[in-house]
Amino acid sequence: MINYAQALQRYGARLQQWPWWLWPLATLTVLSPRCAALRREFMARERDWQRQLQAGVAELVLSRDLQQRLAAISQQHAQLPSSQPSLAWPLGLASVAALLLGLALGVGEVGQFSVPGDDYQGLAYLDITGSRDIDAWLEGEL
């Protein structure tokens, strides 16, 4: 469990940078005079370090030489080719593989249940349309 002082250390004095789940702690800045004082003290300490360190180490400006060296990078160096796997290839390969598999299975199935076989003759005995019944009935009538 994190307390107010630890949250200040970790996320800084800017409350908007605190994670949303710390809002109950953040409200203490307004509700608790002790927490408000703690935050003021923290900010003063941080400002002091900042001032001391920034005054001690000068802010460098880019020298003309460095500017030229940086500007020349895009002409002097070749970009590395992307090693990210392309999504198009696996998708294309998978489609082709599925097509070939489908064809192989289909050919096998057609061979297994071929129409021009002995079963075709068997089918001839099936009176699918019922025409033999009609013939028999007509013969009876006659």
Partner: protein, 188 residues
């Protein structure tokens, strides 16, 4: 013309990076304008030498240019730049320390500051702090640079240094304590 300038200014890092990945030199120049100064200064605060900081800064942007087509990092560009910059700077310091164990050589390297300012009074005033910073570890200097120069929250610094917020807090705490000790000793 004004519209183009405005568009250029409004282009996000991600857009510029995508164009850089396609070999667009102009987009890369815009990224340079945006980030080179802060990268240079972060490195400078770790290596404490202008010449080395400039070389390492160039190396950071060479890597960005080369690796742009392969960009996979989900992090912000500034986080990536800071991460590469601090890694290069820390590695450089470690190599440097192995090569030159003699303090005198390190001191010689550190004494080239305040070049741009040409201000002797400033240099005299800044000298003790720089020498104190030189006594910290490179990781401590990196943490101080991100906290007090870039003003980043601890969580972000942890992301850059590939560490945990707790470890960064401890690093910062030790750095401040060491600095207080060294500066205090100097005041005596």
């Amino acid at each position: 013309m004004v519209c183009r300038l405005l568009m250029a200014r409004l282009s996000s890092d991600a857009t510029l990076l995508a164009r850089t990945a396609e070999g667009d030199g102009a987009a890369f120049q815009q990224l340079l304008q945006r980030h080179s100064q802060s990268v240079l200064n972060v490195i400078y605060r770790i290596v404490l030498s202008r010449a080395d900081a400039e070389d390492l800064c160039q190396e950071v942007f060479v890597r960005l240019w080369k690796q742009a087509p392969d960009w996979q990092d989900d992090a912000k560009l500034s986080t990536w730049l800071h991460r590469v910059a601090s890694n290069l700077a820390i590695n450089h310091c470690q190599r440097f320390q192995r090569r030159h164990v003699v303090d005198a050589e390190l001191a010689e390297c550190l004494s080239e500051e305040a070049e741009g300012r040409g201000d002797d009074a400033y240099a005299r005033q800044a000298e003790p702090l720089r020498e104190s910073l030189a006594q910290l570890s490179e990781e401590q200097r990196a943490a101080l640079a991100f906290r007090y120069y870039r003003e980043l929250p601890v969580k972000e610094i942890a992301k850059i240094l590939d560490s945990t917020p707790k470890a960064v807090e401890s690093l910062l705490g030790r750095a401040r304590k060491r600095l207080r000790e060294v500066l205090g000793k100097r005041d005596d």
